[in-house]
Every structure is written in structure tokens, then in C-alpha cells.
Amino acid sequence: MKTPIQFQLNGEEVAAFAESGANLLDVLRESIGDLSVKGGCWQGTCGTCTVLIDGAPRLPCVTLAETCVGKSIETAAGLRRGPDLHPLQHAFMERFAAQCGYCTPGILMAAKALLDRSPNPTRAEVVDAICGNICRCTGYEPIIQAILDVARGGDRRRA
């Protein structure tokens, strides 16, 4: 049985027919085709698929898709406005905060959730914001630095 689901994705109205009981991650990737959302576990334990639902960080892989009807969802695909990158994207580039790049979209969204709510976080708050996201490559430090760069007033070049 399929259920019609409609919500806002990065500001655009989207709709899909989802398998009953489907999780939001599969709907975003398979039905709607937003491939910026990566799947890492389908268990709610790695944070790779992190998106924002009505401004709050959530894990689509353990979110029942039909609970999202009428909600506003933000993904990494919506971070950039036309040719202009989001400050977080600039900062991640400047700090070389990505290696394989698979966890990057989810971590960017986790970081955005933090900065949207508190623009000037402490290091501890940054660490907490990404603690649900597994990164196997970087050792986290460059990611923390990149987020702090934005908090400190932007993605200025490193000396």
C-alpha cells in the first residue's frame, strides 16, 4: 500500500507516493531523488542522514515518512543558494574538513542546526552538535574548527 506524502523540501513543495511504513530517508533518496542525503546505518546510530525538520536536526532513517506531511525539510542540497555557497560549506573547504565526503552533508546540517539556534557557540557546544555524527576519516578536529570559524564571523582564509 502506498501513501501520498507532501512536504516542503528546501523551500519547494514536493510530493511522493511512499510505501506504507517507509522511512523518510528512503523517500527522500528513492522517491524524491535528493541524493545529497546519504544513508549510513538505517538504525539511527551514525547521523550520516541528518536533515532539518522544521529547523530541528532529525534522522530520516528512523523517521516515519508520513509523520512529515506538511513539514519543512532542509537538506545539504538546499544549503547553497544558486552559485553562492553557505558559509559552512566555505569553512569546510578552507579547513579541509572532508576526506571521503560521505558524512559531510549530515555534519553540515547538524552544524547548521546549531548555528541557526546559537550563532556564537562554544567549542563544547560545537562538539555536542556533531556528537551524533560518525566521521571515520578526519578525527573531527578540522570539522570542529570549520564550524567555529563560521561562528567567529565567517569562513575567513587561514593565515
Binding site: E19, E30, G33, L35, S36, V37, K38, G39, G40, C41, W42, Q43, T45, C46, T48, T75, A76, A77, L79, R80, L85, L88, Q89, F92, M93, F96, A98, Q99, C100, G101, Y102, C103, T104, P105, L108, I134, C135, R136, C137, E141
Partner: protein
Amino acid sequence: MLEFRKDIFADERDDNLIEIGQPTQRQDILGHVTGTSPFYDDHRFANLLHLKILRSPHAHARIRSIDDSAAARAPGVKRIIRAADVPVNLNTLLSLIQFGKDDEPSLAADVVRYKGEPILGIVATSERAALEAMALVRVSYDQLPAVFDVEEALKPGAPSVNPTYPKNTFEYYGKYDHQKLRFGDVESAFKQADLVLEDRYQMSPIEHAPTETNGSIAVPDTNGRFIVYTSTQALFFSLDTAAKINAMQSNQLHFIGGTVGGGFGGKVDTMTEPLAILAARLTGAPVRYRFSRHEEMQFGSPRGAERISIKDGVMKDGRIVARQVRAYFDSGAYTRLSSYAVVKCVAHIPGPYTIPNVHADVYCVFTNRTPATAMRGFGVTALDFALESHMDKDAVALGIDPLEFRILNAYRDGDMKAHRREAKNCALIECAQVAAEKANWPLRDEFRRLSSRQGGGPARTGGAADRARAPAIAPAAAPPQPMPQRVAYERPTPAAPARTPPTPPPRSAPPPPTAPTPAGSTHGAPRFSSVFGTRRR
């Protein structure tokens, strides 16, 4: 966070370069931060089918019967793949370089040898449909005794894990159950040593834990070819393995990798491609075979555990005069890459130190656990843990500063290594000096003044090589020299003794019916046969 010491070895380096040494941005970074880098699973196909694998719940059991009739009738199920459907259902990864015998089935036919071993595949319209059908498969087993400890596995009467290697050890050169290293004479050196220290170390298995699990999508292409989108770390390795198992010509396969969501050694094994291709051939539709996180954690090959015993003979003045190593690699139920790691491990003994008498026996042992494979630092990581822990104990026992003890024994240009090659391009002493300075680790002046480029030479091993078999490099051949070596890289010299080629052991599996020996043409394979005596016809 990161600084350079360009002053060291400056005379060996050309610093008049334009692009080399620049912190140029990664070519792939924009794709990464915008979520547009193409990973294997970022390709969409109409009517994509999904392959799920029924795995053994037992570590060792004989399969009495399999009833998949109900599963075959379950909604959404397109095809069930059994062992008999696999064209060449016995393989070993390194057959591509003629190393080792085929010992691992893609799908277990009669016996399962580790918990999680694939038994049958279900191809369905959704992963959920495949999983629901899987719950309907009835398999009955006769459980068999299992062994999980490397040393237990070597005892007489231990359960035999892998019929290709019934004694539970990989076979080297068709005659040995381990890889040897013999340099000098450790026994007499232990007698002369002021102090002999022995201890045992145990590495843990490690999961690679890439954020992207192993997976691939096989898509029927025009003209009988198949396009395979894959997470592999080794494109042709996987292509040739998939071709062999499917008895296909390698040019029938078009492998497309791209960005990989982390590998660390866990994506060399080609665990999904062969069956995804087979499923696509049997159904005529695109098929995705993607490990679940649970599968990746428990049934994807881990870094194997090693058990390493070290015996050192040291003198009061701090010289290590003898080192004996006995190590067991836990390969799990099948070989995969552990046999190779054993040789790499032996090559690494005794570590970056110049020791005149070295003796090692390293075993690749089969147990009833998930087959192990390569991981970052393969064959060396565990040995370094053991060696460097033991170095610390040596230093403590001698009352010498642990770092000075290492510098004292560090290998230098011109030294003779235990595998009978001249040490060149060494820099261990300099690393120790620089790190010590940065961390305010007090080193005495004489240790701050030492250099990798001075004071080395065959004499430091007391001509040990001569006392053992013929030295590869005549002591006269290479006087210690402070300047960079002319020779591009180490080579066996003519002085090396000629060896009679070992006799080939019986072959383990019949050749693939239609498949040409897949990689023979592409991997310089014949050369390896002389090394490992496992030439395939």
C-alpha cells in the same frame, strides 16, 4: 598544528618546485560540501531489484537441507540464488596474483564455516520483500565442532575449518605451514645476552567501519555487457574477481567506482559485486547488493587479530643482540588477504632496528570466525604494537630512557636488515630527535647528535648475514655513505643464492568452464608462481 622541518635532509631535496608542496584545494571538495559527489549508490534505475543474503547462524555446521519454496512464492521475490547457480563457486582473492589456492565459496553449498557465511540470495522488488521472504526459508543444520583460538586451532585433533587447508594453516611454497625469517643465530645470542625478555601480545579484530557500507549495483548494458557501480577500493581487482566467479570475459564488465565513502582496507574483498552481477544476469534487471550496517559490522571482513610472542636478548649497554618473534594471524574461515599480510609482517621484523640475530615464524591460521582482510597498516600495525611495547619493557629493564634506547638501536643507512637488504633512506633517528625536542623529552647530547646517515654499515650486524646463508649484499658492496643512494630501490643482488623452484601442490578446484584465467594477462601473475609455487595452468 602541522609544521615542517625543511632544514633536515635539505641537501637531498629539490625545493625549486611550483605545484608540489602547495596546499592546493582537493579536486573533489566542492562535490563533498554540496552533497553532489557521486557514490556508487547515487545512481538511479527503473525497476531496480534488491539482493539480500541469508547467512549462517552457526560458526560451523553441515547444511542438511534448504527449503526455500515458500520464499520463492513470497510477494516481490524475483529469483532465489543458490550455490549451484554460481558459475565458479570457489575463489581466493589473490589467485589474481597466483598466490594461494581457491578456498572460499560465494555461497556455501554443504558446510558453513563461520557465523554469517552466505548461504543463499533472494532477489526481490524491495529490500523489505527480500527480508520477509528470507524469514520463510527453512535450513536445517548438523552443528560441527568449532574453533576460535589460533593456538587451539593448531593443536592435534582441533576441528578442521577449511578443507583446502585441512591443517588450519595456510601453505607457503607448497611445503611450510608458516613464513620463516632466519638471520644470524638467535640461540647463541640469547646465551650471550645480559638480559632476555619475553612477552606475548594480542591484537583485537577491528571493523573498518566506513560510513558508507560495502555495496554495488549491477546493470545489464547493451551488447551483453554489464555496468557495475561499486564501492570497491581496487577496481580491476574487483572486476577480475567478478569475471572469474561469473565465468565471464573481463571485457564484458564495465566497472565504475568514483567516490568511495571510506575504505580503510575493507573494500578490497569484492564481497558484493560477483553476486550482484549474477543476480542481474539471472533476472535481466539492475540489482543492488548493499550491506546493512549490521552485516558490515559483523560479517564484512574485519582486520584480523594477531597473537605475537617476542623474545629479546639485550646487553647492559643497550644493544639488542637477538630478537625472536612467533606470530599467529587469525585469518578466520578463509584466506582472503591474511596470507599476504603474514609475508609483509615477516618483512617488517624486527622493526626499524638493526639487530644482528633475528628469527621469526609467522602463521596464517584458520578459525571459525568471519574471514579477515586488509586494514590500514595491514600486517604491520599489530606487530608495531607488540614490538614498541616490548622495546619499552627492554628499556625499563635496562634502566635506559625509552627514546634513547630506540635511537641507539635505530637502523641507519648502510645497515643490513634481517631480510638481507641494505637499509637506505633511513630517518628514524631524526624523527625521534625532532619529536623529543617538540615534546620537551630530554635527550642527552650524544643522542641529539646521531644521524641516520652516519655510522651505519654491515659491521653493525657483525656479519650476521655471512654466518647464516650467503649474504645478499657483500659487505664491501655498500660502504655507509652520507649522501642519497644512487640505487633507486632495493633489489636482490646476483650474490643471492639460486633457489630450486618449489614443486607445485595439487590444484584445489577445477578451472572455470568458460572463463579464461581472468587476471593472468593483467596482473603480471606468472612471476608470482615462482615465488609461491601455486602456478595455475
